[in-house]
């Protein structure tokens, strides 16, 4: 990354800046989604883009997730680079045929003749008291499908660099943003032009006793837990894969080999989820260097409830991670 500055941006500002830069850089890049133009999305992530680029680049669509996602697939095949905005990750369900059976398959089924260079941006994450149809983290579903790439940044700087790369990628890329981070998370973002390659994890904090492998919002949780662990003399390393597919297996395995213990934490459901896959990768790659089983922490296996105290139970917290890490370190 070029010269880091003191400049701090919110996650939403970083996303917006990435889009604006790519739209300036390439006239084929356009945005499709519900209330993306004047409204700038309900989360105000895209505010200001329509003022610069106009309604011929930023398209307000009807409430037709399958329709405009399908249109993006066809447009991507024929010379456009659309960025689709799916307001809540829960509504991904409505785009599934277009993403899973169309976008993900076209390059392969055509023997490499057609490409689908599109990005689908959407959200994940609970904690907004939004209840079960607006709180899910469904990224694992898309990781399961060959032909799709899945990006899940945890900081404003990563979001910007990864989104720029995703837009330039020749494949369908799904880009997940935690909706709690949009305006609450601020961080340093370099001023110059930069991109971050897909498939490269980053060690967010160096440690030697235990590896906390965390994604998206859970990176902040892991960093918080690492602070707590430091107070009792346990040195935790925090590793963020940043993209789930392609996956940087080596960095995860190397960290686990070094520390000999690992916990994987992700906001998606624990069962059959991202944590299961990452834990397997680490177990297979670092088994003989491990001092205990790789643990996984994800959302409880329930629809996310509305009632605040109930909702708070469903998502992993710093305290839960601290307790698990402490226990794992004391056993081995």
């Amino acid at each position: 990354m070029p010269d880091t500055t003191d400049r701090e941006l919110t996650f939403a500002q970083a996303v917006r800046e990435a889009l604006a830069e790519e739209m300036r850089h390439d006239s084929r890049v356009c945005i499709l989604g519900e209330d993306v133009a004047e409204a700038g999305t309900p989360f105000k992530v895209l505010s200001g883009l329509v003022e610069e680029f106009g309604t011929n680049r930023v398209f307000d669509t009807p409430i037709s997730e399958a329709g405009f996602t399908g249109i993006a697939v066809g447009a991507a095949m024929t010379g456009i680079r659309p960025v689709v905005d799916i307001m809540f990750g829960d509504f991904l369900t409505l785009t599934m045929d277009q993403m899973v059976n169309q976008a993900a398959k076209i390059h392969y089924m055509s023997g490499g003749k057609w490409k689908v260079p599109m990005v689908l941006r959407t959200t994940l994450g609970a904690s907004r008291r939004s209840a079960a149809q607006h709180s899910q983290s469904l990224h694992a579903w898309l990781c399961h499908v060959p032909g799709l790439k899945v990006v899940i940044p945890s900081t404003p700087a990563d979001a910007k660099g990864l989104l720029k790369t995703a837009i330039r990628d020749e494949n369908p890329v799904i880009f997940f943003e935690d909706k709690m981070m949009h305006h609450k998370l601020k961080g340093p973002v370099p001023t110059g032009e930069y991109t971050i390659p897909l498939g490269v994890a980053e060690v967010k904090r160096i440690g030697k006793d235990i590896s906390l492998i965390a994604t998206s919002s859970m990176v902040q949780v892991a960093l918080g837990a690492a602070d707590m662990l430091a107070e009792i003399g346990i040195s935790a390393e925090v590793v963020d894969p940043r993209t789930l597919w392609p996956l940087d297996e080596k960095t995860l395995i190397d960290s686990a080999k070094k520390t000999s213990r690992a916990i994987v934490i992700d906001e998606g459901y624990g069962r059959y989820g991202v944590t299961s896959e990452l834990a397997s990768v680490i177990s297979e790659g670092a088994f003989y260097d491990l001092d205990g089983p790789v643990l996984r922490m994800g959302a409880m296996h329930v629809p996310i409830p509305f009632s605040p105290p109930l909702e708070d139970l469903t998502v992993p917290t710093e305290k839960m991670l601290f307790d698990a890490a402490k226990k794992l370190c004391s056993k081995s």
């Binding site: 399958a66 697939v73 095949m77 494949n171």
Partner: protein, 330 residues
């Protein structure tokens, strides 16, 4: 004669009429060979034959430019050929060979060919409606004046995607023509059991102009298509074209015993009285465009072309096993 049909006759020149006849024959003979390959157990998978419906693909594709886009369905051989695909590469694809359009990775239901604007056949009923509309979106965005045609069977009228994209195409005035091929059956069920209301009214409810045409009459299909396509290219927005037709064979080549959903007599009536190739041949003779001997000679010539293409495909090698992991990502 209404002014419209007068114009149609004028634009359907002798040359075009003869070419359309040849194209329909090529589709029919192509599929004769497909049936044969399948029966001889040389062809893997499923094959859905288009026989009986040839006038639609040919009438529409003759009204398109080579660069214009089409999307197709599980019953897609006719659309591919009419848009300009080569039988050698199509048969190779049907047999899963390296030389096929998709290196043998797509098969009968997924032939795609950028060189002829073919965005791909699709095994999801209604699955390509977004893609075709998206191609029309990029045509408008890039101002390249291309038109996209979305072929689908009447069974796809049940899919919600159609109504999402009709709405958007009309709002944004996209150059896309939705071509509904009503061959009366959704797989093994008569469409009247699955389709409420009036088919064209579904499009006109969105303000999309809709027309109905005899899908067995290649000249009628061509002239309607030409009007709609030219209009879309000029910025007139989307259109819906309902083509009434019939498929002669089963839903797929293995669907032999079909008395439980339709009668032999019905099939026979369409084949003898409503066949698009017979009807068009009669017209060519009546207009004095050609003679019977020439038509017979053409038939043998096309049959030979298709046999040679099959031989090419049978002799062609399978893909190298390393291909299995290629083209997952671009």
């Amino acid at each position: 004669m209404t002014p419209q049909t007068e114009e149609a006759v004028n634009t359907f020149s002798k040359e075009l009429a003869l070419h359309a006849y040849r194209q329909m024959l090529r589709i029919r003979m192509f599929e004769e060979q497909v049936n044969e390959l399948y029966t001889r157990a040389l062809m893997p998978g499923l094959a859905h034959l288009y026989s009986g419906e040839e006038a639609i693909a040919v009438g529409i594709c003759e009204a398109l430019k080579k660069e214009d886009y089409v999307t197709s369905t599980h019953r897609g051989h006719g659309h591919c050929l009419a848009k300009g695909a080569t039988p050698n590469l199509m048969f190779a694809e049907l047999l899963g060979k390296e030389a096929g359009y998709c290196h043998g990775k797509g098969g009968s239901m997924h032939i795609a060919d950028p060189a002829t604007g073919n965005l791909g056949a699709n095994a999801i009923v209604g699955g390509s409606m977004g893609i075709a509309t998206g191609a029309a979106f990029s045509s408008k965005y890039l101002k390249n004046d291309l038109v996209a045609v979305c072929f689908f069977g009447e069974g796809a009228l049940g899919q919600g995607l159609l109504y999402e994209v009709l709405n958007i195409a009309q709002l944004w005035k996209l150059p896309v023509i939705y071509v509904c091929e009503n061959n009366l059956y959704n797989e093994y069920t008569h469409y009247s059991e699955t389709t409420a209301g009036d088919i064209c009214a579904r499009a006109t409810a969105f303000g999309v102009k809709a027309e109905t045409v005899d899908g067995q009459d290649v000249q009628a299909v061509y002239s309607k298509a030409k009007q709609l396509i030219d209009d879309a290219r000029a910025g007139g927005g989307p259109a819906f074209l309902l083509c009434n037709t019939y498929r002669y064979t089963g839903h797929h080549v293995g669907d032999i015993n079909r008395d439980y959903y339709r009668t032999k007599q019905e099939e026979q009536e369409w084949k003898t009285r409503r066949d698009p190739i017979l009807l068009h041949g009669e017209r060519l003779l009546h207009e004095g465009f050609t003679d019977k001997a020439t038509l017979d000679a053409l038939e043998s010539e096309v049959r030979e072309e298709m046999k040679a293409a099959v031989e090419f495909a049978i002799a062609a090698p399978y893909p190298a096993l390393e291909e299995v992991e290629m083209h997952v990502y671009a």
